[in-house]
């Protein structure tokens, strides 16, 4: 019997170490996939124009802020930045205002069609925006919503809403119903129990999901480019003007877009992981 074991054991170890190698290799590939472009973006944004277009590359930033400074003083950049923030804040407010009640309903009530509703919420993401863009633009022009921050925020809300619903659904599901029930027996009505018990507990997660909605709007370029002309958001503005700009300015613009999004996502990463962990039940 010992021979069988001794023959088997090294083989098993081999298989396991091969699997482990594959696993680690996949992680490394994924990390490079994400980190390399970001790294190159930073290096080039923080280098002087000569270094950006010159050879050989050092691979290290020279911390030359000329390109960034020039980019920020570029006509229209600051206004586009302001528009971006305005649209993103509106999107944040709208998607939490609509998404959180839906998430609460999904986690606390049984209603007919609950599962299909959850599915449908995700499905909205499967509908391609380019298909919608033209009819939307026509509709917006008719209703006077075209080229306004609010009009664009509505479209961005549609994009952010599925995430807002799913994140808040998992947040509320993480709060034991007994806490609410205890509050009811202690003299609260439904709304009071929600405000005094549930809301303080989910607030950090709600904030995270709001930041996520903000980021989605911040990064969105297609609808912004189609639906705004004068009041462009930063991504739409960059698409329009960086096309014809020198390379170092493109890098500076790219960095200006990526940094806020990166910081925000990093700040709320814990809640985004929690969302997939719980929402998959």
């Amino acid at each position: 019997m010992s021979t069988a074991v001794s023959v088997d054991a090294p083989h098993k170890v081999e298989v396991r170490s091969a699997a482990r190698f594959l696993f680690i290799a996949a992680i490394v590939v994924l990390c490079i996939w994400v980190l390399l472009p970001i790294y190159l973006l930073f290096v080039n944004a923080l280098s002087s124009p000569q270094e950006v277009s010159g050879f050989p590359k050092t691979g290290l930033p020279s911390f030359d802020f000329g390109s960034v400074r020039f980019f920020l003083s570029f006509a229209g950049v600051l206004q586009a930045l302001g528009n971006s923030v305005l649209v993103a804040v509106l999107t944040m407010v709208l998607s939490i205002g609509i998404g959180a009640p839906a998430g609460y309903a999904l986690s606390r009530f049984d209603f007919p069609g609950k599962e299909s509703f959850r599915m449908l919420v995700v499905m909205t993401r499967a509908f391609p925006l380019p298909l919608l863009a033209l009819p939307l633009a026509v509709l917006f022009i008719r209703t006077g919503l075209d080229d306004t921050a609010f009009g664009l925020a509505i479209v961005h809300t549609v994009l952010a809403l599925p995430f807002a619903v799913l994140i808040t659904f998992s947040l509320f599901s993480g709060i034991p119903i007994e806490l609410e029930e205890a509050a009811w027996t202690l003299g609260c009505n439904r709304w009071q129990a929600f405000r005094k018990v549930v809301l303080p507990l989910v607030m950090p997660g709600i904030a995270a999901s709001a930041v996520f909605a903000f980021t989605i709007s911040w990064n969105e370029v297609f609808a912004a480019a189609v639906l705004t002309i004068q009041n462009r958001t930063l991504p739409a503005f960059l698409v329009q003007s960086l096309n014809v700009s020198p390379l170092h300015l493109k890098f500076a613009g790219g960095a200006a877009l990526v940094i806020p999004a990166l910081i925000f996502i990093f700040a709320v990463r814990r809640y985004l992981f929690a969302m997939w962990g719980i929402a998959n039940r």
Binding site: P176, E178, E181, A182, W184, L186, G187, C188
Partner: protein, 346 residues
């Protein structure tokens, strides 16, 4: 005064009938335990009384007021949950004060009541802590203190001790009994632990499959089970059952022995006896000993009678080894008979 009257309460979830037409009256200041295996409907009944669940049919009256249309906050109840439900974002003080603040009591009164109940539950040194900094037993105390501070007419407890370890459970059990007796509230207490039920209750309602099988004092439930289920559920080890055949003359044939039995119209009955109610002697039911477990106070024998298990509790100085055949004589006044078809006592 808070007498609780439950009239024909039924509850079904979809096609599943969790409760079948429950009728139960709980007297003012009584300690009523709902006892049953999981899924028997005891928690559903408690939640219907609390107002957390709506009955499909029937009425609930608390203190002479019909409450089944009222939300929990208007029923004059307080509830202790199985997982404590201590609010994690509030200190212990604020947890206990939560209901009092909802009632808009004056500040001094809130402080007085929180301090008093905290002392009662021995948690006065924890008032500034958060629930995350407490052990399970301490959380349980906070949950009970929070309920007591409301000075409710009725306290409802849903398996409050089941998440505690054994030693702590024993300690809390004795403490709860003292505190609740002193508070003069009516208490309904749900548990699946028969020892807890026996030790706490003024009356036990034994539930099975959505029905109350027997509601009586603990000793009565133990001595005179109204149904076979009660005898087999309560007692550790539970009651022994042996099929019996009519032998004429008021005698019944039990495992080859003729015993005095009831006048019944049936030809077959079930003979039942508690393990501690048999004596080892020269005559009685023949039993082959399979396992001997000396427990100190007494010895537990697992025997075989006509191919079925039969447990007996005997004196610890009885010399017996597996394989022996004993004669176990049932104490005549302790023998019970059940109808094998309906399962009810005869």
């Amino acid at each position: 005064m808070a007498e609780i009257v439950i009239k024909k309460v039924a509850k079904s979830f979809g096609g599943f009938h969790a409760l079948h037409s429950i009728d139960l009256t709980i007297a003012d200041q009584e300690f009523m335990v709902l006892l049953g295996a999981s899924g028997c409907g005891k928690t559903t009944l408690l939640r219907i009384i609390a107002g957390l669940e709506t009955p499909s049919q029937g009425e609930v009256w608390i203190g002479g007021r019909r409450v089944d249309g009222l939300p929990p906050r208007e029923r004059g109840i307080a509830m202790v949950f199985q997982n404590y439900a201590v609010f994690p974002h509030l200190t212990v003080f604020e947890n206990i004060a939560f209901g009092l603040r909802m009632k808009k009591l004056p500040r001094q009164e809130i402080e007085r009541r929180v301090t008093r109940t905290a002392e009662l539950m021995h948690i006065e040194q924890l008032l500034k802590r958060y629930s995350g900094q407490l052990s399970g037993g301490q959380r349980q105390r906070v949950a009970v203190a929070r309920a007591l501070a409301m000075e409710p007419d009725v306290i409802l407890m849903d398996e409050p001790l089941s998440n505690l370890d054994a030693l702590l459970r024993l300690e809390m059990r004795a403490e709860l009994k003292g505190v609740l007796a002193a508070s003069k509230t009516t208490t309904i207490y749900v548990t699946h632990d028969q020892v807890e039920a026996m030790s706490l209750a003024d009356r036990i309602s034994v539930m099975n499959a959505g029905k109350i099988v027997q509601a009586a004092r603990p000793v009565e439930v133990y001595r005179n089970p109204a149904a076979r289920f009660v005898g087999s559920f309560i007692g550790n080890p539970p009651m022994n059952f042996i099929p019996a055949k009519r032998a004429g003359d008021g005698k019944w044939q039990v495992a080859g022995v003729a015993l005095d039995g009831p006048q019944a119209s049936r030809d077959r009955l079930e003979f039942a006896i508690r393990p501690e109610d048999v004596t080892v002697g020269a005559e009685g039911i023949p039993a082959t000993v399979r396992v001997v477990e000396p427990l100190g106070v007494h010895t537990l024998l697992t025997c075989e009678v006509e191919g079925a298990l039969f447990r007996a509790v005997v004196e610890s100085d009885l010399a017996v080894t597996p394989g022996d055949t004993l004669r176990l004589a049932p104490k005549p006044d302790r023998v019970r008979w059940f109808d094998p078809e309906s399962g009810m006592a005869v």
